[in-house]
């Protein structure tokens, strides 16, 4: 029974040969039926046609019997799998099931295979993602608590007073930009930045890191019905929806894990360039409108205005 086998009782080589033999058998049976369906057409006399047909038919039947004999020979070589298959407790589910009412074992197997595949793919994805560092904070992951040096500076836990001070200083930096800070939901600061009479920006922070921004028009309502800052609803205007997307890009662009206050300052400087959102033409095409939108993109270094489709 065991003949160069990997698992006890199953001859794998004979197994693969048997599968090939099944395929050959299938193709020869198909040929028989095709022959019956198509008949013979290329002989002139009826007798000639009949003879040719009989010859072809016999030949295909012979090939069928040959393949069947080969398959039978191989199947005797394959052998039975061992009875001691280590299925443990889950294998007991497979004994005497009522398949249509309780397909437990097959579902269990499927779930197991699926979760294995998921784990494998997740491993691949994390390997690829780790190649690009995406962490904006300075915390180190994976260092166990025992080995972590005690005086590790972490910019994720800053005293709220420090955050308030930084924001107040930035508020005083630009005259046309005013920043209001509030903490309605725990320790994360929520800023309402009003830029001239052009737009309002709601910035949700996590200690000194900017988490999310929403840009809305000057005349839009930024509060919910209870008077709290509405941090979820989007602007009604397409131009401000576009600027919100750009602001999100900006907060991901300006990254400096060790000095988050510089990051906030650069972000606010970038945001301030939107004071001329409706006045500045695009630096590339010279026009004001592109698909009904003014130049909404501000270059990160030069702060020049571009249309979203015109930017390099």
């Amino acid at each position: 029974m065991a003949d160069g086998a990997l698992s006890p009782g199953v001859n794998l080589e004979a197994f693969s040969q048997a599968i090939a033999a099944i395929q050959a058998l299938r193709s020869s049976v198909t040929r028989v039926f095709d022959c019956l369906k198509d008949g013979m057409r290329n002989k002139e006399t009826l007798e000639g046609r009949e003879k040719g047909f009989m010859a072809a038919f016999q030949e295909s039947l012979h090939s069928v019997s040959r393949d069947l004999g080969e398959l039978e020979r191989l199947s005797t070589l394959v052998g039975k799998p061992s009875e001691n298959h280590p299925l443990h407790n889950s294998g007991l589910l497979s004994l005497d099931p009522v398949q249509d009412k309780t397909p437990l074992y097959s579902q269990l197997l499927q779930a197991y295979k699926w979760s294995n595949k998921l784990q494998y793919h997740a491993g691949l994805a994390s390997g690829l993602l780790n190649q690009q560092s995406l962490k904006r904070s300075a915390n180190q992951m994976g260092v166990s608590a025992k080995r972590r040096p005690k005086a590790q500076p972490t910019t994720l836990v800053l005293p709220p007073q420090y955050v308030d001070d930084v924001i107040n200083r930035i508020d005083r930096m630009f005259p046309e930009m005013s920043i209001q800070l509030s903490r309605p939901n725990g320790t994360s600061a929520m800023l309402l930045v009003t830029l001239g009479k052009v737009l309002k920006v709601i910035v949700v922070m996590r200690s000194l890191f900017i988490d999310r921004t929403i840009v809305k028009g000057y005349n839009e309502n930024v509060y919910t019905e209870d008077g709290k800052l509405d941090i979820w609803s989007k602007s009604n205007y397409q131009v401000f929806q576009k600027v919100t997307d750009h602001a999100t890009t900006a907060l991901l662009h300006y990254q400096l894990p060790q000095m988050p206050d510089v990051v906030v300052r650069s972000f606010m400087t970038w945001l301030r360039s939107y004071i001329k959102l409706f006045q500045a033409p695009c630096q590339r095409c010279g026009k004001f409108l592109q698909d009904g939108l003014p130049p909404t993109w501000r270059d990160f270094r030069t702060l020049e205005a571009f249309h979203d489709t015109c930017r390099q």
């Binding site: 052009v198 005349n219 409108l289 009904g292 003014p294």
Partner: protein
Amino acid sequence: MGVTCVSQVPVAEGKSVQQTVELLARRLEALGADKQGTFGVDCETYHTAGAIGTQGQTGKLMYVMHNSEYPLSCFALFENGPCLVADANFDTLMVKLKGFFQNAKANKIESRGTRYQYCDFLVKLGTVTMGPSARGISVEVEYCPCVIANDCWNLLMEFMQSFMGSHTPGIPSVFGAKHDSVYSPGDTMVQYMELFNKIRKQQQVPVAGIR
């Protein structure tokens, strides 16, 4: 309320008012605008009656206007004076003030038409009618996100040029007075009032048959 510019488009050579409106509508739809219902702006004129004793000076004209964009409001304005934004019940109040303000019913003028939306722009193409006759075409273009008039004039003009071509108007006079204050619906009504006055003074458009 975004910055709005109200202007008049002259009737095309050899075409009727309706055909010109249709021409503009087609150009707008070719740009990609969507039709979004109808609009209506109307204006009634009231003379201040001499009963108050105004020492012989001609009574001032007061205009009471309605805008379908603000269905619950009524706008009352003097020619160079302030604009009052009131509740819709103001009309009944005017009836009660019959002794002081007399309605010049023949001067009622209105503009009705379709509303189009293109990205953040709102365009209203209307036929101005006085009584039974069509007198002209009004085009109102609003850029909703901006509230400072002088900021987005160039943007508005570029948009208007794309479908109005050479009939693009110059900067409205109300913009000059606004400086940096927030644009309000009253300013739109002032523009409509000026437009209606201009159309009233124009010669009646020859009513051409449908070609």
